[in-house]
Amino acid sequence: MYGWTGTTLRIDLTKGIATREATNMTLAHEYIGARGLGGRILTDEVDHNVDALSPANKLIFAPGPFTGTFAPSAGRFNVITKSPLNGTIAASNSGGTFGAELKYAGYDMVIIEGKSPKPVYLWIKNDQVELRDASGLWGLNAHDATDAVRELTDEDAKVACIGPAGEHLALMGCIMNEMHRAAGRTGVGAVMGSKNLKAFAVVGTGSVTVADPVAFKAAVMKARGKIQAHPVGGAGLKAYGTNVLVNILNETGALPTRNFQDGYFPTADKTGGESLAAKQLVRPKGCFSCIISCGRVTKVDNPEYAGIGEGPEYETAWGFGADCGIDDLDAITKANFLCNEYGMDTIACASTIACAMELFERGYLTLADTDGIDLRWGDAHAMVEMVRKCGEGEGFGKRLAEGSYRLADSVGHPELSMTVKKQEMPAYDPRGVQGIGLNYATNNRGGCHVRGYTIAVEVLGNGMSMDPHVTEGKAGLGIAFQNLTAALDSSGACLFSTFGIGGDELAEMLTALTGVSYTVEEFVKIGERIWNNERMWNLDNGYTSADDTLPQRLLDEPILTGPSKGEVNHLGEMLPEYYSLRGWDEDGVPTEATLESLSL
């Protein structure tokens, strides 16, 4: 067995037993691993009607074939489950070192089923698998829980765990690993909490077997060289982190501001990567086998927000920054630290607070709702306090923890939730960048940027450049990105490796690693298969073409100021072509011919 370990571990929390089984290699070849394979297993084994927070849902931890190898930035794993936020397949992708360790322990997937009658943590050391009492860990934040689990198991254990947010089933609860990395989106932490599983610790002493070591080494060195030679992968991300995007998105007029009321934030520079590097950066940090090091170890000296931790990434700096009308970088970084400790998706948390601010400013929420806190635009203290409340599930924080859609809907104004399929959109305004709007609208897990990052072409000019303000060509662009990313996510490689390499290099490395021949066309076709599998799950769950849309604000209300002033998103000009190019009918349903061509 090459690339894959050939072994899947199944944990029944209800009965407290573990069983090993052979990984379904037919599916592994067709879906690669991680997001693709885990998603297919979920659709095969879980009834789409189950309550996502019930024992009937499953929680799958899955690295990919590259994970644990020296392929560039090959430290990724996915957590796959039915999302409690919106019912989609929640394949939440994380870096760090946990995924590689899981692979070294010998597993392609760990499928967690049922619900433990009491809090437990899972401890795996190679073949040794134990469920241990976690009563003493329940209530600990993600940092303290990680330390405690290491003390109880092995000081070198890699630990994925939930914080208090996952415990109280916050729909923005994420799974933290190595304290600062997150499987962040779509509420996977709440599913872990619903199963009374506090933590998952692993030590592996094995390795990944390579089919053709000579060819693999050559392909990897070529790919590494391309990434290192590229100004972004080689130096830019290491110097400034992802937060370098604040200024270019702002100056393009696509930095969502005050809950997407505007697309330009005049003082955004105070919150950008340049300011972070000057004020807070301790050192850059990479995940397993990373040659990019986009991570930020940061320190805040300001006594009000003092602390040391990691972040913020761009999305986080935007969310707690411009989207809340805040330009205090110390407060933003503090909010990030709190999210990491409580185990919360920073995008969802920040966007929900921005939504709450707008609801408050418009009088739809009052001081009686917000526990007496004046929730005004630009109030950094109020924002940080809301993050704390949200993490604790305290008072108004309980409502925030359910995300902006449910919050806005509860006061009769769902239109003020900046979500797609109930998931908060990230940091790119679709009125200033047309193609990303189409990507948000059609994304299988709702508002998401990483599964169709057209920004690379529309704003950053990486590889090629398309005008962000035009709609022509964006359907094809979006599909190309969505398919490639689906395959890449399934391989265990990091999305950022594509700032330097593409499908050709990925297919070449995967072939040498696994001994299974993948052309770039086949690699991308797998991505298309994964995308359609996720689409079919959504349709089975009641989603329709009516859900392939954006908040009405983005379609009707022009950006008020800045370079994209006057712009709205023209989704209607792109969506029919998108359906057509996808091989879907006019209702967005894959045709029989499409499904057949994908072996679905």
Binding site: G236, Y240, I248, Y314, S465
Partner: protein, 112 residues
């Protein structure tokens, strides 16, 4: 920033706009290191983006020129916005500069 550095009396120099308002230029990321500035104001700016980059290269030296140009063309790793529009979609180095334009100079950046 006053005048046009690198342009000596009698030399042809770059064409100069007829309008007299200064041009605001903002630098980001590595261009802040290359220029030692976050922004500058250019009096009597030239008429096109290409000429502007020549002027700025003369002011800031070879590192700036290397970051701005690849041969005669704009560097593929330069992102230059005029009023928020990437000049790759408005004519590249021939993109005209007009009164009250704002120019933003970025290296290629990425994230997500």
């Amino acid at each position: 920033m006053a005048g046009l550095p690198g342009v000596t009396p009698g030399s042809p120099g770059p064409a100069v706009c007829e309008w007299s308002a200064p041009l605001n230029i903002k630098y980001f990321a590595t261009f802040r290191d290359l220029t030692g500035e976050t922004a500058c104001v250019l009096e009597n700016p030239p008429a096109t983006v290409g000429e502007l980059l020549e002027v700025l290269s003369a002011r800031y030296g070879t590192p700036f020129r290397r970051a701005a140009f690849e041969g005669e063309d704009l560097s593929p790793f330069l992102v230059l916005l005029v009023n928020g529009r990437n000049v790759r979609h408005t004519g590249g180095r021939t993109t005209p500069l007009r009164e009250q334009d704002e120019v933003c100079v970025f290296p290629m950046v990425a994230g997500g």
